[in-house]
Amino acid sequence: MISHLRTMWLVFIHIFHKKVTIEYPEERAPLAARWRGRIVLTKDPDGGERCVGCYLCAAACPVDCIALQATEDEDGRRYPAFFRINFSRCIFCGYCEEACPTYAIQLIPDFEMGEYKRQDLVYEKEDLLIDSQGKYPGYNFYNVAGMDAGVKAKGKGSNEEEPVDIKSLLP
């Protein structure tokens, strides 16, 4: 009996507490920048695609919902010929972002992806690619990689010496 009364009392005083629920969608919950929502593919500062098609996101994905195919442009710069995420399988774990060596794949604070048809949750590259650098402005993978893929020539990277003259024996 006492426990019943106590419960009713506790429920009653909650009327005067500050509300936790919000009137979504009129009112929006504040989401942190690192909130793990919809996945996007970002671009380099020079406007090129950041994704180099290394397949690490696909390998890291625990539900195997990422499929892509790497290809190359005439400069030898890799990019995905197609990049597909099946969001109906995605669990928003963020492993793909963690695995991504080029900051291309990022999870952003957007969760409003409801669809009536499950098929509409299959996102292709044109749905994923955004015209922004996302959370990591200024980073361009090819500036720090050794390869010459049309971004910087051999030896022009910030941590690189000029290419070796193989005809010379000087130290």
Partner: protein, 897 residues
């Protein structure tokens, strides 16, 4: 057997091995770079350091390179010693200082020995903060990509390319920390073994350029154990598929056959599977709508098959299962080999020799271990490239073995042995029509017409066994050569004679047999196609007999199995044959001149889409497993199509498809020469703890997204009823039986070097025995010598003997579908000897015409300095070239056209 103590645990190891090999054979992990089981140790990379202790009391020990330390009884070693571990991690850190931050865009990533070894040694954060050394890359041709920044200077590439494979155009340049591996000038790598650089290089300096076109990581490939389709050696390969396309071929170790290396034709010649020219639709020609469905096609074929005289033309490039299914459908008396009579005769002779049991036919491994090799008439550089590599090893190792007999040096001590051996070489006699790169390492070589080469062979046999007939009027050249060669062969413990079909001469086969039988040595044959021997073993009549057969009937339905007759039968004869057939049913994979003649065209599966058994040149039957099921359901294995047609004829079939196992069993029961072939691979219902063997790695990605664009619900995994391999990631993850290894992988060993874990001992046979069943072994049967010595070859006035010249790149029907290989193929030409050209007043490059088989072929002249007089050579099998009557005498006209 010495006992060594590794971290105080006793292990029995094999004598004559080094410590690194011993540790790896025991299954222990020890990092290494420069050592390679096929190439020995040089102690260059300092990665495999361990600590060796003087005795039990010694607590201090000393660090040694395990690859440079032989095992001896009572040796006390520590792998896990703290100093040794620190040493190794420091070494890898040094090696990594200049290594670029490239892994995401590096094709080696995921199958990279450097990644594996770095993780193994525990170096995970870079402390080096200074600038990295960079290099410019070189263009190395259409097959191999160069990215020199990634080099860790282990020298494996040049040790393979120059020392092992005898290449000359890859070298090491510059000095100290600027050492550069490349060519003197940019250009195409000349060695036909350059593709192995992609596997030999522990990092991504040399990578497969054809894979780059459709790049896929190793973990994403659906793999299956397969057998190379481009020559008769039957090298074991692993083929990988992704998104319905064959993506790459890598070596599948088989200690008895190809070992660690493949030739470029085998490695890169896979693109025909993905070709635009594939037959993708069953067609019934001569009706308004030609494309049809499976059921309608079978119905239609049923009508053509019943009430007609049925003949079947088999194929030397189709599997035994398909050939046998055709034989069952048409009946044994109506089954023909789709090869010309002359070739069938030579191949029959080879089968007779092998089946007699009088001689031993060596595997490639045994050829490597031979101490004297005689090549009689076969251009193995072009027709059996990996055999040429094996012959090179025999020549190099014989000298090394002689040296180590005198001075006690372990056989793995590569540099020391090379220093001692210097230029000394083992015995190789290269007796061929044309010179080849093998002449450089040959002790003696001779250029002669096939009949003269056969006479040389008989002269050698006569010296070895004087009861054999003497060669009449042998001449000085043959006598001197015969004396040199017979002396060398007599002194050898394991002599090997190599001959083959490329001269279309059965005299060569007879002569080679007489030598091998007189010596009791090995006799290896080279045949034209991947299943030539398997087809020849079915002992069916040749194409010419089929052509004669159709002349007598008007009501013939011919079924042609995976065979472009225009590639081996002169067009005039093939046309005559087709015009006599009432109905022509062709099963093939790619459109060609034969499929154009078909009234009914059936799309067949390539080797990658089919299970099949192939018999290689040493009569080793090997199973090639299906790599992927084509999305196009009408592309099916030929034996399945043929079984469906057969099912129409009989009511006995209960609708169940027959497995390849069943076909092999039926084959074995019908032809005793195939006894034992059913054991070539575990049966289709073989399971390990109830589980299948997965074709996909456990990291296979994209399962729920690959087909999501078409339907978001994942399809049921494909069912493979014909083998115990599965199309999933799930299944038995331990070591599969050797014939069913879909890929090499072991925890911590992602690269192909993980093959160590699959071998009984490093560089030895695979656990459970190397795959393949040898169908013929030497018995106690006494040899019946051939005593018919051919007449000497005499050049005829104004007539030339027409012989084929094979090209590694270009002569293959299927391999030229790879653009890179096609670009390396030579154009058509006509070759004459220098004197013949002078006599006919023609120069190099002049247009010369050869009249044969009712046609005139006009091509530029290419003078061959050492070609014997009276012979004209034309390249065989180039795309668009007709088959010619090889061995016939032809006219040449030299008018400017």
């Amino acid at each position: 057997m010495p006992t060594i103590y590794i971290d105080n645990k006793p292990f029995d190891v094999k004598t004559g091995k080094n410590l690194l090999e011993a540790c790896l054979s025991l299954g222990l992990d020890l990092p290494y770079f420069c050592w390679h089981p096929a190439m020995g140790s040089i102690g260059a990379c300092r990665q495999c350091a361990v600590k060796v202790f003087k005795d039990e009391e010694d607590t201090r020990g000393r660090i040694v390179m395990s690859c440079m330390e032989g095992v001896k009884d009572g040796l006390r070693v520590s792998i896990n010693d703290e100093t040794a571990k620190a040493f190794r991690s420091q070494v890898v850190e040094w090696l990594m200082t200049n290594h670029p931050h490239d892994c995401p865009v590096c094709d080696e990533g995921g199958s990279c020995h450097l990644q594996d070894m770095t993780v193994m040694t525990g170096h995970n954060y870079r402390r080096y903060e200074f600038k990295k050394r960079t290099y410019t890359n070189q263009y190395l041709g259409p097959l191999i990509n160069h990215e020199m920044n990634r080099c860790i200077q282990c020298y494996r590439c040049v040790r393979f390319y120059k020392d092992y494979a005898g290449g000359k155009d890859l070298n090491v340049f510059s000095a100290h920390n600027h050492v550069y591996f490349g060519r003197e000038k940019e250009g195409i790598l000349q060695s036909p073994y350059s593709g192995n650089l992609a596997e030999v290089c522990p990092t991504g300096v040399f990578t497969d350029k054809t894979l780059k076109e459709h790049y896929t990581r190793k973990w994403d490939l659906t793999n299956a154990p397969s057998v190379c389709q481009h020559c008769s050696l039957g090298c074991n390969v692993i083929a990988g598929e992704r998104y319905g396309q064959l993506r790459n071929i890598v070596n599948r170790y088989n200690g008895e056959v190809n070992g660690y290396f493949l030739c470029d034709k085998g490695r890169f010649g896979y693109e025909f599977v993905n070709s635009e020219n594939r037959i993708t639709q069953p067609l019934i020609r001569n009706q308004t709508i030609e494309a049809t469905t499976h059921d309608k096609l079978i119905q239609h074929v049923g009508k053509l098959v019943s009430g007609h005289t049925l003949i079947g033309i088999g194929s030397p490039r189709a599997s035994l299962e398909s050939n046998y299914a055709l034989l069952e459908l048409v009946g044994k008396e109506n089954f023909y080999q789709g090869i010309p009579d002359d070739l069938a005769y030579v191949e029959q002779k080879i089968v007779d020799v092998l089946q007699s049991g009088a001689i031993h036919t060596p595997s490639l491994k045994e050829i490597e271990q031979a101490d004297a090799v005689l090549i009689l008439g076969e251009d193995i550089w072009n027709t059996a490239s990996v055999m040429a590599l094996a012959v090179r090893q025999s020549v190099m190792k014989t000298a090394a073995n002689h040296t180590t007999e005198q001075i006690p040096l372990p056989s793995w001590h590569d540099m020391a042995i090379k220093e001692l051996v210097q230029e000394t070489k083992g015995f190789l006699a290269n007796m061929t029509v044309l010179p080849s790169q093998l002449d450089e390492i040959a002790a003696t070589s001779m250029r002669a017409a096939p009949d003269d080469l056969a006479r040389l062979g008989f002269a050698i046999a006569h010296i070895l066994n004087p009861s054999l007939p003497e060669v009449p009027d042998a001449g000085e050249m043959i006598n001197t050569q015969a004396t040199i060669i017979s002396k060398a062969l007599q002194q050898a413990k394991h002599p090997v004679i190599i001959t083959g079909t490329s001269c279309w001469s059965n005299a060569l086969i007879r002569a080679a047999f007489d030598i091998a039988a007189a010596l009791n040595g090995g006799l290896a044959f080279v045949l034209p196609e991947c299943n030539s021997l398997g087809l020849a073993m079915m002992r069916a009549p040749s194409f010419d007999k089929a052509a004669a057969h159709v002349q007598q009937t008007t009501n013939t339905t011919a079924i042609i199995l995976e065979n472009d007759l225009y590639r081996c039968i002169p067009a005039i004869e093939a046309d005559a044959f087709f015009s006599r057939c009432k109905n022509i049913i062709v099963l093939d994979t790619l459109h060609n001149r034969t499929t154009e003649r078909a009234h009914v065209l059936i799309p067949a599966a390539t080797f990658a889409e089919a299970d099949g058994t192939f018999v290689n040149n040493e009569a080793r039957a090997q199973r090639s497993s299906q790599v992927f099921m084509p999305a196009n359901k009408v592309i099916r294995e030929s034996f399945k199509w043929l079984s469906d047609i057969k099912a129409l004829q009989t009511t006995a079939g209960n609708g169940h498809e027959r497995h390849p196992d069943d076909l092999l069993l039926a084959l074995e029961n019908r032809f005793p020469q195939f006894a034992g072939i059913n054991k070539v691979a575990p049966p289709h219902n073989f399971r390990i703890h109830g589980a299948r063997i997965p074709r996909e790695s456990h990291r296979y990605s994209g399962r729920t997204a690959i087909t999501a664009n078409m339907a978001v619900s994942e399809p049921k995994p494909l069912q493979d009823d014909d083998s115990s391999l599965s199309y999933t990631m799930e299944g038995y993850r331990g070591l599969p039986p050797a014939p069913l290894i879909p890929f090499f992988w072991s925890p911590g060993w992602n690269s192909g070097q993980s093959v160590n874990k699959y071998q009984q001992e490093v560089g030895g046979m695979l656990k459970g025995g190397d795959p393949g069943i040898r169908l013929f072994e030497q018995t106690t049967t006494l040899p019946t010598f051939y005593r018919d010595v051919p007449e000497a070859f005499v050049p005829r006035p104004d007539r030339w003997m027409l012989l084929p010249q094979y090209h590694l790149f270009g002569s293959g029907e299927l391999s030229v579908y790879t653009a890179g290989i096609a670009s390396l193929s030579s154009g058509p030409y006509i070759s004459l000897s220098k004197q013949d050209a002078e006599r006919s007043h023609v120069k190099d490059g002049d247009m010369v015409s050869v009249k044969t088989d009712g046609k005139t072929y006009t091509f530029p002249l290419s003078i061959q300095e050492s070609l014997p007089d009276g012979i004209v050579l034309l390249p065989a099998g180039l795309r668009g070239m007709d088959a010619l009557s090889w061995g016939s005498w032809v006219n040449i006209s030299t008018e400017i056209v």
